[in-house]
């Protein structure tokens, strides 16, 4: 054997042995730590801030992040095998919902009582019951989707348009003007594999035109909407189908006008707060729809360390922790906490943008899908597929809507999910016209 080969082999064996020895056998390291599994605050820098700053003062916690789909698989697998590693879960309302039928969430009315004085709005607390009558999660933090405008774009704003009260037609005209003057398509959407394009279609575009997300999926209004949106897309940067987080193309200067989740544009704003304005997303004929996002904290049934899990949730719902999260991570408090005056300029822009979105006089709330269970992914796919077919592949609007409405109806029938806002309440499965 040559020397290098021998060394490599020896090194591999030695490190393996050392590794096994230091972790105390092939098994659990830090088995005593509380495991907090979250689908939120996943990107590396954010997760690191959670570990280093947000969790300071909480019981010793291992912060693990995962995407929504593996998150559900993992919780399901733990229930089925009745072996638990995860104590606390943090996820969006819609991601916690599928955990209810599989019995993965513990009732936490005791925790609700402990945080009762924190001033979480009753409506949000009610959401946390997930329709079960018992408290299953405690609201954790909230956010929404906004538009970020680079100031370079403002001179091209069409005459008569107010940047704080845009319509989709004006957005198209604006993009077109920029394209004509600068030769670049400067509007951007996060239509990449990890981007939240489907949320834009569900929470902003559809309700703004149809006052509906599901029922009017295929309608005359929807046809007009797709026509208008195709006009917008003509001035959208073609790289949009690669964008996951809009802060990157904003910082790179590729995009001047971008729609995204507040936490996904925060870095661009904090890096150069003077360059940007944050505004409400455009309005359609039916109003200016926006989608509030609520993340909640739950405790896994059979949690290995329930006492500390409770302590962790208490810690995370302290006003000072929530303010810290807003300052550092761009998610806003659910508890009664005033944001300090010394808020970083970027976060301040964001919080103003959120306020503009929520308080616009034509504002309309569109909720995240409720009751879809593990069909949430396929629900998103219906919207994204429709977008791909109509906008990217130029298929005829009406025929595409007819075909996709069938897929939508299948999902609704299979899940029996009743309508949620802005669709009118329904008995049984939400109908698709």
């Amino acid at each position: 054997m040559t020397k290098s080969l021998r060394y490599a082999l020896l090194a591999a064996v030695a490190v393996t042995t050392a590794g096994i020895a230091t972790t105390g056998g092939i098994g659990r390291a830090n088995a005593q730590d509380l495991v907090f599994l979250s689908t939120q605050l996943r990107p590396i820098e954010e997760a690191q801030k959670v570990r280093e700053m947000v969790l300071k003062g909480a019981p010793k916690t291992t912060y693990v992040v995962d995407e929504p789909s593996p998150f559900t698989v993992r919780m399901k697998a733990e229930v089925e095998a009745n072996k638990h590693t995860v104590s606390v879960v943090g996820a969006l309302h819609g991601e916690l919902q599928p955990l209810v039928p599989m019995g993965a969430l513990d009732a936490i009315d005791d925790v609700a009582a402990k945080v009762a004085s924190r001033g979480i709005p009753a409506g949000l607390m009610e959401l946390g019951k997930l329709g079960s009558g018992k408290q299953l999660y405690i609201p954790w933090m909230q956010a929404t989707y906004v538009m970020v405008v680079k100031k370079d774009a403002l001179p091209f704003l069409p005459a008569g348009a107010d940047v704080n009260a845009l319509t989709y037609e004006q957005l198209a005209a604006w993009g077109k003007a920029i394209q004509e003057k600068t030769g670049q398509r400067r509007i951007g959407f996060p239509a990449g594999p990890k981007g939240l394009m489907a949320r834009f279609l569900q929470g902003n575009l559809y309700p703004s035109y149809t006052a509906s997300m599901v029922t009017e999926f295929r309608s005359a209004e929807a046809e007009k909407m797709w026509g208008d949106f195709k006009a917008v897309w003509a001035s959208v940067n073609p790289n949009s189908t690669n964008y996951d987080f809009m802060q990157e193309p904003l910082m790179a200067g590729e995009v001047w006008i971008a729609w995204d989740h507040v936490a996904r544009v925060k870095d661009a704003l904090t890096a150069a707060p003077g360059d940007y304005q944050v505004v409400a997303p455009p309005a359609g004929p039916k109003g200016r729809a926006y989608m509030p996002v609520v993340a909640g904290l739950g405790i896994a049934k059979g949690a290995p360390d329930r006492a500390n899990a409770v302590a962790l949730i208490e810690h995370l719902s302290k006003p000072e922790t929530q303010v810290l999260v807003a300052k550092e991570l761009g998610f806003f408090p659910v508890v009664n906490a005033t944001l300090p005056a010394d808020l970083p300029a970027g976060v301040k822009l964001l919080s103003e943008g959120v306020a503009k979105t929520q308080n616009a006089k034509d504002a309309m709330v569109a909720l995240l899908p409720i009751g879809l269970g593990d069909k949430g992914g396929e629900f998103n796919k219906v919207y994204f597929d429709t977008f791909q077919r109509i906008v990217l592949r130029n298929e005829p609007i009406k025929a595409t809507l007819d075909a996709q409405a069938g897929a939508m109806r299948d999902i609704m029938t299979a899940t029996k999910a009743p309508c949620w806002a802005p669709d009118k309440a329904s008995d049984g499965a939400c109908p698709v016209k």
């Binding site: 054997m1 040559t2 290098s4 080969l5 021998r6 060394y7 490599a8 082999l9 591999a12 064996v13 490190v15 393996t16 590794g19 096994i20 230091t22 972790t23 092939i26 098994g27 659990r28 390291a29 830090n30 495991v35 599994l37 996943r42 990107p43 590396i44 820098e45 997760a47 690191q48 570990r51 291992t62 912060y63 693990v64 992040v65 995962d66 995407e67 593996p70 698989v73 993992r74 697998a77 733990e78 089925e80 095998a81 072996k83 590693t85 995860v86 990890k194 996951d244 987080f245 802060q247 990157e248 910082m251 790179a252 200067g253 870095d267």
Partner: protein
């Protein structure tokens, strides 16, 4: 060779070396370039403002060392299992003709024809039940299923390459089959086996899907980086890509002499 042909030959060789090395050099630049570097235009091909920030953040993130240790444990165990199980099978294929030998070869091929990521799914529940979920051992078992076929085929060709007569001579001199194997065959085959073992190590080190499905906390480094990288800005992706490449360059350096002993003969 004439001078011109020689020149063409040498420049061709160098061009192909550059084809392999330049992309690696450039991602290293990306890894050290920081966030501003990722957007810099036009790019320079010599490092400017090199910063260790992105790489340092990787090194500092909680769990990255634990993940690295897990990766080494999983890869080490994969190495041990696949040789321990694969080498006897390889020896059998090389030295005996028996019914079912071809069926076994086919089975081995079959394992490569199926996307492993999907197979990890049904295994999740089973693993949780028997306590293998979220352990490097569990990951190593799945990786062994990947590496074992290679180990079996590679060792089979190694043993085929060692003349049967040597072994038979040892039997004549009164050695048992085991003794003959240990004293004659093993020393000759050892370097090749070691190379195959390191290759198993590399397979496990690089595998990402099964590793991410089967773990929560005890992630392997590759799986850990996948979750981290998928949603990170470009300069982190470059840093992560660079971190993944460095060990493979070293591994290949260690086994470079035996690559052909392994693969070349195995194609027979």
């Amino acid at each position: 060779m004439t001078a011109t042909r020689r020149l063409v030959f040498v420049s061709g060789t160098l061009a192909l070396c550059a084809w392999v090395l330049v992309p690696i050099y450039l991602i290293a630049l990306g890894a050290f370039g920081g966030r501003a570097g990722a957007f810099k235009w036009p790019k320079e091909i010599v490092p400017s403002n090199a910063s260790l920030d992105a790489l340092m953040l990787f090194v500092k993130i909680e769990g990255v060392w634990n993940a690295a240790v897990n990766s080494v444990i999983a890869a080490g165990l994969t190495m041990l299992f696949s040789i321990a199980l694969g080498a006897p099978a390889g020896y059998a294929l090389a030295r005996f003709s028996f019914r079912g030998a071809n069926a076994f070869r086919l089975l081995v091929l079959l394992t490569r024809a199926f996307p492993l990521a999907i197979l990890a799914l049904p295994l999740t529940v089973t693993f949780i039940r028997i306590g293998l979920y979220d352990t490097p051992l569990g990951v190593a078992l799945v990786h062994t299923a990947l590496a074992l076929p290679f180990a079996a085929l590679v060792t089979a060709s190694l043993f085929t390459g060692i003349p049967r007569e040597l072994e038979e001579a040892a039997w004549v001199f009164g050695c048992t089959r085991l003794q003959a194997f240990r004293r004659i065959v093993l020393p000759l085959a050892l370097p090749g086996i070691a190379a195959a073992a390191i290759f198993a190590f590399v397979i496990s080190w690089n595998e990402v899907f099964a590793a991410s499905v089967l773990t929560v906390r005890e992630r392997t480094l590759t799986a850990y980086l996948l979750t981290v990288l998928a949603e990170s800005p470009l300069h982190y992706r470059f840093a992560g890509g660079f971190i993944l490449i460095v060990p493979s360059v070293l591994f290949i350096f260690a086994v470079r002499k035996y690559l052909f002993a392994m693969w070349g003969v195995s194609s027979k």
